[in-house]
């Protein structure tokens, strides 16, 4: 059962987006998130949507996988929508009991929902097209640029890499321990919450002991090979920007400019809403 869970939902495929440098994708995603909050009218959203569609098209990822991430946060979207519909003041369209539904509320809620969905899809394109290892590599490079983070960049990235590496191992281990306890007549399915909570002890204890042992062994193995943290450490594969990355940065800049410009459409007296 644990085997079915996939974390870091990387979807291997051949595409110009997959080939981009992880740093490019991280920067793009960051900019995209920020820029989304600049969009304040239909034009802005349309531009953001257009770039997103282009991204999805180029990434060669089946739409099914792209929308899977939205499913995970559907509840959050619903709550946001409901709150927005009822609490935004404006022209009252109709009332349900003490709750008032306003025109501004409806518009706000729609924008909010679209923004959240685009946000999730935008970020999940990054995780779908970048393997976890190269993603952490990219993060390490990016963190080094942040003042004050330089000293910790390597350690944080190393921690993330190790964690990612051990997630499947841990799941396998949990699965095996669970089966072993089941073979001794343990029952994880029936009973109330209290009984169920108690029944995980025979899984968690061995799992923790195993993890600590593994951590200890790994630390030893790393020290045996003279690992001393990031200082002065060079890497086997340096990240290098390619032509595609230049194009991607230009596209990012164009998108940013367009969305920010869209805010001023109203000032130019072009009616948008």
């Amino acid at each position: 059962m644990f085997k079915d869970i996939t974390i870091g939902q990387y979807y291997p495929a051949n595409s110009p987006i997959h080939d981009l440098d992880p740093r490019t994708k991280i920067v793009y995603t960051f900019v995209y998130i920020i820029v989304l909050f600049f969009a304040n009218n239909i034009a802005g959203y349309a531009i953001a949507l257009l770039f997103l569609a282009l991204l999805i098209y180029l990434s060669n990822i089946p739409l099914k996988f792209v929308f899977k991430s939205v499913k995970a946060i559907i509840i959050i979207i619903l709550i946001t929508v409901i709150l927005n519909v009822f609490v935004t003041p404006g022209y009252i369209l109709f009332k349900i009991g003490p709750l008032k539904v306003t025109d501004a509320g409806l518009i706000n809620a729609a924008f909010m929902a679209v923004r959240l969905i685009m946000l999730i899809i935008g970020t999940s394109i990054m995780t779908l097209t970048t393997s976890p290892i190269s993603l952490t590599d990219g993060m390490e490079y990016c963190m080094r640029r942040i003042p004050g983070m330089r000293a910790y960049a390597h350690e944080l990235a190393m921690m993330m890499t190790i964690a990612l590496r051990f997630i499947p191992t841990l799941m396998e281990e949990a699965d095996k321990i669970m089966k072993a306890q089941k073979a001794r007549g343990a029952d994880f399915e029936t009973g109330g919450i209290f009984k169920k909570a108690k029944s995980v002890v025979p899984i968690l204890v061995p799992l923790f002991i195993g993890s600590f042992k593994r951590a200890d062994e790994l630390a030893m193995a790393m020290e045996a090979r003279c690992y001393r943290g990031g200082e002065g450490r060079t890497r086997l594969n340096e990240l290098t920007y390619q032509k595609g990355d230049t194009v991607a940065y230009i596209v990012t800049a164009v998108m940013t400019a367009m969305i920010i410009a869209s805010r001023f459409l109203l000032l130019l007296n072009i009616p948008m809403k």
Partner: protein
């Protein structure tokens, strides 16, 4: 007591890109007390197979009968099956979790809702069976003892359920020679004096040759041989083809015969070879 697998197939991660057929149309029938060994190359599906024998894994297609009850149908039957068919996993010591050895071994009997006296009796019996002194070890932590002892505690944890069949998945993996011998002796005692059917998954042909009465050879998820050791080991070439081999003694006897000694080259145990060579010596067939 009987165990039957009929046309059992198992596919891991079905309907995903990672689909893998680990078992293909397996048929096994066990209906008397036997010592059975399952051998096969790494990845041939041995562990997957044994997990079907007590319903921990369900076949993608096919049925499993324990005492003529089809355990693939409902959960209660599977729960009962686990009492009758005990399974000791590979590296079983990784499942220990209690504060004391007593409590850990008592986990199984407790799940069976037995009385306290009964539990105590079973724990002490199981500990003696695997060669751990009850009084000396019962209150110790299962994490303060050696790896070999931990493995024995884990085996006792399954024995305390009093199964009719006990399956051991590579019980000697990673132990030193003495630890191996002790565990194998305990297992053989179980079979000889307690009338328990033993199914031993093993990579060690010497172990298998010494103890098994029936050998099941697996290859890529299928059974390619299911016969007495003499028959299986007489086909050494076939075993080598799939990355296994006959016991060393078997090669030795063949070599001796090739060099003109009048010995039976079907012999595959140390004991048998010893007897044969003594006989030959007495006949005057060896000039020392």
């Amino acid at each position: 007591m009987s165990l039957k697998l009929l046309h059992v197939s198992h596919i891991y991660a079905k309907d995903t890109p990672f689909e893998f057929a680990a078992l293909k149309d397996i048929n096994i029938s066990i209906d008397k007390t036997e010592f059975i060994a399952i051998i096969g190359h790494t990845g041939s599906g041995k562990s997957t197979l044994v997990q079907h024998m007590n319903g921990l894994l369900l076949p993608t297609s096919g049925t499993v009968f324990i005492d003529d009850v089809d355990i693939t149908q409902n959960k209660t039957d599977r729960f009962n099956a686990r009492r009758k068919v005990g399974l000791v996993f590979q590296y079983a010591e990784h499942q220990l979790f209690e504060e004391t050895i007593f409590k850990d071994i008592a986990f199984g009997p407790k799940n069976l809702k037995l009385t306290n006296e009964e539990i105590e009796m079973r724990v002490s019996e199981a500990m003696e069976l695997v060669g751990l002194n009850y009084e000396e070890y019962k209150d110790r932590s299962p994490f303060d003892i050696s790896g070999g002892q931990m493995r024995r505690v884990a085996i006792a944890g399954v024995l305390s359920m009093k199964p009719d069949i006990i399956i051991l998945d590579e019980p000697t993996a990673g132990l030193d020679p003495l630890g191996k011998k002790e565990i194998l002796n305990s297992i053989y005692q179980l079979y000889k004096t307690h009338n328990i059917t033993v199914i031993l998954v093993s990579h060690n042909m010497e172990e298998v040759a010494q103890m098994a009465e029936r050998i099941i050879v697996m290859r890529q998820g299928g059974i390619i041989m299911d016969a007495a050791p003499a028959k299986v080991f007489s086909q050494a070439e076939k075993l080598e083809e799939i990355g296994l081999r006959a016991p060393d003694i078997s090669y030795l006897m063949k070599e001796l015969k090739k060099h003109g000694l009048d010995v039976d080259d079907k012999i595959f145990t140390l004991y048998g070879a010893n007897e044969e060579l003594l006989k030959l010596y007495k006949r005057g067939g060896i000039n020392v």
